[in-house]
Subunit: 424 residues, 4 copies
C-alpha cells in the first residue's frame, strides 16, 4: 500500500528555486509526484501556485519527504490542526517532534493560524493554549499577552515536562524568504553569495550604506567581532563606530575583550605593540595581567569607572551603554568576571541579542558567528567578513536568505567601513 | 645609568637555535650583549656553554629582555632565590608575576632548586613553603608530599589571596627541550614541522609505530577528535582503536559525541546515511532527537547500559572504561548530560587528562586541540592532523617541541592508521 | 520602443534549475517576461515545456538577456537560420560573434539543424557550407566528411580570415545536461557537488567503480596529475594503474615528469628520499641533473629504451604506450625535450586528448586541470581531487554537469584508489 | 676509511642562524664535526668565526654534506681553485656540476676570487677564462668586459657544449644575507616573516615608504599582478601608481592584460560591471572579443595609439613607457599578440626584468610570482600580498632574505597603498 499526501507551494516558487528543490527532494527520497495544478506567474511580479500529490511506498518513507518539503516551504494542503503531544520529561521531546527551520512559520491550532514566535532553527514548537500568559516561554519574560493561544520555539534544554510540543508535519506552514526583486536600495546588494568576484571597495560602500540605513530607521546593528580584528589593528575603528552610535549590541568572546583591554592597558595585543609593530616581549604575560587587573577592579564596567580602562571597544561599549555579551570557551585565559562561563547561559544571552538584531556584522570569528547565526531568523540581514573563504562559506550557507559573505582582510575592511559610515 | 645582568646558556645551544634566538631577542628589544665565556661543544654529542652580560638603558628596558631570555632558556647567572609575593586577592596576581612557559622549569627557594610541578604555559608559579601538604594546589588533590617546600603552577582563576607567587626573573631556570639527535626509533620522525612534503603513507606508518610503542611502554594515548572525523566516515575505525586498547583517554566536544550517538541510533550523521551517501532528510531533527533520547536515559553510560546505544566511539569508551571529557561550547545543541557546560570546569577536566598524556592525537578540531594544547607541557608528544594547513600550523607552532603536523584527510588517515596499528 | 522575442525551454526544466535561472537572468538584466505556455511534467519522468516572451527597453538591452538565456538552454522560438559573417582577418572574430558554452549545441543552417562538433566553451562556431571536407577545421585533420555542411568550434587563434562565423543568438540551440535521475550505478554518485560531508572511503570506492566501468566499456580515462602526487608518495600507485591498463592518457606539466624521473634516478623527489623521509641534501641539484640526463638521452622514450629510466609513472607510460602531453610553464626547470614549450601548441595537444576523454581524474594540479577543463564538453565525467577546497570548488564550478569534487589528500587517495581498482 | 674536510663560517653566524643550520645539516646527513676554532663576537656589531672539520664515512657521504654546508654559507677552508669541466653537449651539464643558490657567490679561479654574475638559484656556473668578451653569456649581450676571466650563471637550457662548468664544492664561497640589524628606516620592517599578526594599515604604510624610498633612490620597482587584482576593483589604483611613476616594470600573464583591456573596452571584467556590481551577461564573450580587437589593432601599443584602449594598467604602461612582460600559459584565451607563447623565451624576458629589480611587489598571482622569484637574487627586496596564506608562505619561503608576506585582500591593499604613496 502506498501512502500519499497533497502539498501546496505558493509565491515566486520558480525563480526562488523552491519548485526545483521540492521536485528534487521528492526524487532524492524515493518518492514520486503528480502535479495537480500549476498556475505560473506570467510576469515577474506575479506569484505562482502549485498543488501536487506526493506518493511514497508507505508512511515511513513518506514522512521524511513531507518533512523536507515543509522545510522548503511546501505545506500540506489539508487544513488540519497541528498535532500536539506533551513532553514526557524535562529536556525530552516527544517522538516525532517537529524540528524548526529558521523561516517564518505558522501552525494551525483550533482552526486558526498562529505565528510561531521567536523562530529559530532546530527548535521544538510549544503551544500554550491558555490565556494566562507565558510563564513557560523560555526567554521572553518581558512579554505579556493575556489573550489567546500562543506558539513559540523552545530549544531542547528549555523543554519542560508537560509542554505541548508540535509533532508530525500537518498544520504547519513555513514561508522561506523569497529572492529579492531588483538590486536597488541600500540592501540591494544583499542577494546572498560570496564576494570573491566583487570589487572590495564597492561592497564595503554597500555595507556602510546598510549600516546607516539601519541606524536611520531605528533598527539594531549587532557586531560579532573576533580577536583577529584587534591583531590586525582595526580596534580603534570599531571603537569609533561604537562611540558614534552605529553599534547597538556586541557579541564576542572572552579573548576579544581581553585583547582589547590589554591594548588599552599596555598598548599591546598578544604582546606586540600595535603601533610600532615591535614585540616588546614574548608570551602572554600582559594578557594574564590585564585579566588580573580587571578582576581586581570587579569587572569591565568598574574598571572603566575607576579609570583603569580608558579606551578601546569595550570602553566605548560601557561609556555609550552598548550592551555586550561575552561568552566563555575552553580556550580562554582567566576568564574576565563579565564572561559567561556556562555555555547554555551564554547561548541564552546570545539568543536575546539575536532576537533584537536587524543587521548582524560577523567579523573574523567562526565560533561566535555560528553561535549567533544559530539563533537568527532567516529574515535577519547578515554580513560575514573573514579572510578564510571556508569560514565565509560555512556561515553564509547556514541559512539567512540575506546573508552576504566577503572574503577580505578585517584589518583593512573595518577602517574603510568606518570611514564610509562616518564620513559618508 | 645603564642596567645589566649576566645570563648563562647551556646544552646544545647552537644547533637547537637557542643561541640564535637569545642574541636576536637582545637586539630586538634594544639591548646589547657582551659574551664573557663561550665554550663550544666540539663534537655533536658535546654541549656548549655561554655566559654573557646583557645591558639595556635602564631596568625598565632590561626586564623584558630578561623575561624573553628566560623563556628561551637563558638563566640568570647569579644564584639567588626566586622572589615571592603574596597574591593580593583571589584571582589576582601580584605585579610583576612570572608567567610560565610550557618547558620544564625549576625555581630556587631557600638556596635549593625545586622542580615546578604541573608545568603549563601562561600560569603563575605558587610556592608552598610549609611541609603541610598542598591544600591550595589547584588540581592535584591526590598528591601527598608531606615534606619540604613545593612549587607548582596555578592558572589565574585558581589563585587564592595570600598564595606566594613568584615574581621577577631571578632564581628561575627554564629548560627548553633540545632538538632530537638522530632520526631512528618510533619517535624519530618527531622532529617537528609539518608534513606537506612528506609521503603520507610513510608518515601514517610512523604515527602507528608511535602509538604501538606508547601502548607497549605503558604510556597514555589521548585522542582529541572533531565531528569531521565522523562525517568523513572514520568513526568505526576510531571505535576499533578504542576497543583494541590503543586509546587511553578521549577529549572532545558535545558535537562529536552527539554525531557519534546519532549514527548509532539512526545510521546518519547530520542527517546523511554514511554508508550509502544518501541524504534521507534534511535538517538536524535526528541530531536533536539523539540528544533527547540520551537525556531520557540519563546520560551516555546509562544509554549504553540500557541498550539504547550499541556501537560507536562513545559506546566503546563506555564499554572499555576509557575516560572521556566532553566540553561544552556556545555552538552546541542540547547539550548532553555528560557535557561540562562551565568552561572553567571543562578546562580543569581537560587539564587533568593532559597531565597524564604521553602521546596526543589531535584529529580535525581546532577548538578542542587548542584547549588541550594549552595544558600540555612541551615534553608531551603531539600529532596534529587536519585538512586545513592553517589549523595544523597554528597547533604545531603553539609550543610542543615534538609536535608533528600532517595536512591530510582524517577520513583516509584514521582507517589507514587503524589498519597499521591493528594489523602491523 | 521596447524589443521582445519569444524563447522556449524544454526538458526537466524545473528540477534541473533551468527555469529558475532563466527567470532570474531576465530580472537581473532588467527585462520582463510573459509566460505564454507552461506545460508542467506531472510525474518525475515527464518533461516540461515553457514558452515565454521576453521584453527589454530596446535591442541593446535585449541582446545580453537572450545571450544569457541561450547559455541556460532557452532557445529562440522562431525557427530561423543562424547568422553567419566572415571573419575579417586571421584571429579576429566579427562583431557580435556567438561565444560557445560547453554544452551540446546545434545551429540551424539552410533550414536544417547541425550538431556543432568539438563543443568547447568560449569558442566561435564556424560553418563550412561546402562539401569539400574541412581543411580549415583547426584540430581535426584526420576527419573526412565529404558531404553536407558542417559546424564546429574554433578557438580565437585558429580563426582564419574568411571563416564563416556564427553571430547573434538566432538559430542556435543549447542543450545543458539534465540532473541525473536516481543514484544507482557506478556513476550514480556523480551528481556534482563537493564531498566535504561525504565519507572518504565510500567516495573512493565510487571513483574506483567508475574507472573500472569506463575501462570495461572501452572508454578513455585521462589522468591529470600534479607534482604533489609524487611528493606525497603516491607515484608508485599511479604507476601501477598505468601498468595495469586503467589509464589511457596522461596530461601533466614538465615538473611532474621531472620529479617522477628524478625519483627513479636518485630515489628522491625535490631532494628528499621518499622512502626514509630523509633529506639527503638540499636544493634542486638532482632535479636539474635528472633533466640534463634525459636531455643527454634524447628524451623520455629514448631514456627508457637506453635503460636510463627504469620505473615510475613516465616509465610505465612509455612501456605501455600510454600517450602523454607535457605542457611547459614559466615555472619550469629545463625543460625536458618532451615538454611543449609553446602554450598554444600545448593547448592544442591538450585539446586533442580532452576530446577523447570519457572520465577525467584531476589530481592536485590547478593549472593543468583548468587547462584540460577548458577543453572538455559538459558531457565528460570529471573527478577532481585536491587538499585545497578552493581548488576543488574552482574546478567543479567550471562547468561539467557531472563533475565531482573531493577535498582529500592525494597521498592517501591514490593508494586507496589503486587498491580498490586493482583488487576490487 | 673516513673522509673529512675543513670548512669555515664567518659573519653574524650565530644570530643569523647559520651556525645552527650548519651543525644541523652535518647531523642530518650522518656526519660529525669537530670545531677547531670558534671566535664569538662579543658584541652585537662584531662578527664571529668558526672553523670546523667535518667527517663522514666516505667521500660519497661527505659530498652532500659539503654541498649543503656550501649553500648555508660554510666554505671550504683550503684555498684551491674551483674545478671546471666542459659541458659534454648542449643543455647537458657535467656530472657533479655545482648548482647555485640565490645568494651572492664567488669562485676561485687562477688563484683569484671572481664574483659570479647574475646569481640565481638552480643554475650552473660557467667560467669564461679568455679575455675575448662573453659571446656565450646567455642574457648579457649588452655587457662588454674585454679583460680578465668571468664567471656567470647559466640555466640548463642555455648551456652549450664545451662551456666550462664548475663542478664539486671546492673554490666556491657563498655569502647568505645576514639578518638586518635594527628595525629603523623604510626597510626596517623587512625582517621576513608573514604578517598575520601585524596591523594591516601599519604594514601598508611601511610598504608605501619602501616604494617611495626606492623611487627616490633611483631603484627599480617591479610589480607582478594577477587578475584577482582587477576583479577586486583595484585596477584604477594600480594604474595611478604606474602613471605617477612608482612602477618601473610590470610582469604579468595574458589573463591580467586581457581583463584590464576588457574593462576599458566594456567596463567589465569577466563579464561583470565593476562599478555597479551587476553581471550584464554571463560568459567570456567580452573577454574573447577584447582579445580579438587588440589582435585586429596589432597589439596593445598600437591599440592604445589608435585610440582603441583609453585607460587601465596596460594603457598607463604604454603611455608612460613602463616596460611589461606578458608570459603565456596553457590557461590563456587568445593569446594577445604581446604575450610570449614560448615558456623559455618568457622566462628569459622575466629574468631580464628580475635582474634590474630592487623592490618586487607580488600581488595575487602564484604562477607569475614563482616565475619571477626563481630569477631573483636573495638581495632583492620582495613584498608578497595574497589572501591565501599558503601562497604567501610558499613565496616567502623560496629564498629572499628580505621577503615580507602579507595575507590581505589585494582589493583593499592596493587602494590604501596608492593613497599612502601618492598622498603621503
Amino acid at each position: 500500500m502506498t501512502a500519499s499526501r497533497t502539498v501546496e507551494l505558493e509565491g515566486h516558487i520558480i525563480d526562488s528555486g523552491m519548485m526545483q528543490r521540492a521536485f528534487g527532494a521528492v526524487m532524492d527520497l524515493g518518492g514520486s509526484f503528480h502535479v495537480e495544478q500549476f498556475d505560473v506567474g506570467t510576469r515577474k511580479d506575479e506569484t505562482s501556485y502549485c498543488r501536487m500529490r506526493v506518493t511514497a511506498d508507505d508512511d515511513e518513507h513518506l514522512l521524511p519527504i513531507l518533512h523536507t518539503l515543509h522545510q522548503l516551504g511546501a505545506n500540506l494542503h489539508d487544513p488540519v490542526d497541528a498535532t500536539l503531544e506533551p513532553a514526557p520529561a524535562d529536556q525530552v521531546v516527544p517522538r516525532g517532534f517537529y524540528s524548526t527551520t529558521n523561516h517564518p512559520t505558522r501552525i494551525r491550532h483550533d482552526g486558526a493560524w498562529l505565528d510561531v514566535e521567536y523562530i529559530e532553527m532546530d527548535c521544538a514548537i510549544v503551544v500554550e493554549p491558555s490565556s494566562t500568559g507565558n510563564q513557560n516561554a523560555s526567554r521572553s519574560d518581558d512579554v505579556v499577552e493575556p489573550d489567546g493561544p500562543r506558539a513559540y520555539t523552545k530549544v531542547l534544554n528549555a523543554i519542560e515536562a508537560g509542554d505541548l510540543v508540535v509533532t508530525g508535519e500537518a498544520g504547519i506552514k513555513v514561508n522561506p524568504p523569497e529572492r529579492p526583486r531588483g538590486t536597488e536600495g541600500p540592501f540591494g546588494f544583499m542577494q546572498g553569495g560570496i564576494s570573491s568576484e566583487r570589487p572590495s571597495l564597492s561592497l564595503i560602500g554597500n555595507v556602510a550604506d546598510a549600516i546607516v540605513e539601519t541606524a536611520e530607521s531605528g533598527g539594531n546593528v549587532l557586531v560579532v567581532p573576533g580577536p583577529a580584528l584587534l591583531h590586525s589593528g582595526a580596534g580603534p575603528d570599531l571603537a569609533r563606530l561604537v562611540r558614534e552610535g552605529y553599534v547597538d549590541m556586541l557579541s564576542a568572546g572572552n579573548g576579544f575583550a581581553v585583547h582589547d583591554l590589554e591594548r588599552d592597558l599596555y598598548g599591546t595585543s598578544l604582546g606586540m605593540d600595535v603601533e610600532t609593530l615591535e614585540h616588546p616581549r614574548k608570551g602572554h604575560k600582559h594578557h594574564i595581567y590585564a585579566i588580573s587587573e580587571v578582576i581586581r577592579a570587579g569587572g569591565i564596567r568598574p574598571a572603566v569607572e575607576q579609570g583603569v580602562i580608558n579606551s578601546g571597544v569595550m570602553y566605548e561599549c560601557v561609556t555609550n551603554d552598548v550592551p555586550f555579551v561575552l561568552a566563555g570557551s575552553i580556550r580562554d585565559d582567566g576568564p574576565l568576571p563579565d564572561t559567561i562561563q556556562n555555555s547554555v547561559d551564554a547561548q541564552n544571552a546570545i539568543r536575546d541579542q539575536a532576537r533584537e538584531a536587524d543587521l548582524v556584522l560577523m567579523l573574523s570569528t567562526l565560533l561566535h558567528s555560528v553561535a549567533v547565526g544559530n539563533c537568527l531568523p532567516s529574515t535577519a540581514k547578515v554580513v560575514c567578513v573573514d579572510i578564510n573563504p571556508a569560514t565565509v562559506t560555512q556561515l553564509v550557507d547556514r541559512g539567512s536568505a540575506q546573508a552576504v559573505g566577503m572574503v577580505t582582510d578585517v584589518g583593512t575592511f573595518v577602517p574603510l567601513l568606518a570611514e564610509r559610515v562616518l564620513e559618508g
